[in-house]
Symmetry: C2
Subunit: 215 residues, 2 copies
């Protein structure tokens, strides 16, 4: 019998090499040869686990997308377990903590966000990625929607908020913040991203005489 290698492990190892190349040099440099080099494998080895380049890219995209959303979902379920804090600060902190998993606040999340952006944009013109992109949209919408529903259950929440509209606004803000923090880290630092997110969530609650994140 031959040498047994866990094929799934190998596929994830190759996917990691894809992230590395994309994060450092962009999607255009994610050729099979460059990926193989980054993974420390031969071109033939990579092709042994993925028939096409298209298959490799879709796989890497899905692993990336799932990793991001799983991180957020774990945090989200912790939030949904215990009752929501009644005070303003605790409530904001709980909700922000979940959504922060979607922002590039450290090196790990930053690499994830970069790769995610490149894939999403590529999916616009790459038919092999449209399906994965759709799934990604649904996953993001589910996470943000659930956080928002939690927040709006609080007596502190403003009335007359339309969940779908606010989800659209919040997702837009998260995407835009991610983009800016990824592309212009000098102007959009992690601390600023966290503060911006909290300020936005705060604006969904009833007005407060002493704003939390003012001057």
């Amino acid at each position: 019998m031959p040498k047994i290698v866990d094929a799934d492990d190998r596929r994830e190892l190759v996917a990691d090499a894809v992230y590395q190349v994309i994060a450092e040099h962009g999607l255009t440099q994610a050729s099979l040869r460059n990926v193989a080099k980054a993974a420390g494998l031969a071109l033939g080895s990579v092709r042994h686990y993925f028939d096409n380049q298209a298959e490799l890219m879709e796989f890497a995209f899905r692993v990336n997308s799932e990793r991001i959303h799983l991180r957020a979902l774990e945090s989200l379920e912790a939030l949904e377990q215990e009752p929501l804090p009644l005070e303003r600060g605790g409530l904001l902190e709980k909700c922000a903590a979940v959504l922060e998993e979607l922002l590039p606040l450290d090196e790990i999340r930053r690499a994830d966000a970069v790769v995610h952006m490149e894939f999403m944009l590529d999916a616009r013109t790459n038919a092999g990625l449209t399906e994965a992109a759709q799934d990604d949209y649904r996953a993001t919408g589910a996470v943000v929607g659930r956080v928002l529903l939690q927040l709006m259950e609080s007596p502190l929440a403003q009335e007359a908020l339309v969940p779908i509209d606010e989800a659209e606004r919040l997702i837009g803000l998260l995407d835009g913040l991610s983009l800016r923090m990824v592309l212009q880290p000098a102007w959009a630092a992690p601390e600023q991203g966290r503060a911006t997110l909290r300020r936005h969530l705060d604006s969904l609650l009833i007005p407060n005489a002493a704003p939390l994140y003012g001057v």
Copy 2:
């Protein structure tokens, strides 16, 4: 003397071909040959006006960025000429009209936004575009900042708003909305983008018993 062709016109014509290719097939397909084909020129002709591919790409990027910001600046200067409306609806409409120039609300702005996104993301790993990207950031910041200052001069504006923080939030929202409207037009329609923008601006004003864009 030879045939005289306005070199600048020709360069803009080639840049237009770049947009066309990028908008339809993505930045990866914007090769010199594809661009030449889209422009109806021979490869040699394109290279006659641009020494490098890098030069062509930076030129196309700058023209695209300037076009977007010029559109917004024209609208902005019209806003700054006359005194601001005192009523809530008029004020919001004036400010939103300027910022809408940055959103992909019609086919022209949509193509501009797509090309803009692709260039910005590429600039992250393409040294030849970083300078142009920096200029683009400054231009966007200037437009959004001036609109925000106008809005905050109104007696309707909430107090204790920190201009820089709100600019960051607004730019993030605009970028995110653009991204979503470009990538998922089915979920993020122009009307929804316009409404989301207005709802955000409305939230910067003092609370209103009868919200403009409610249910």
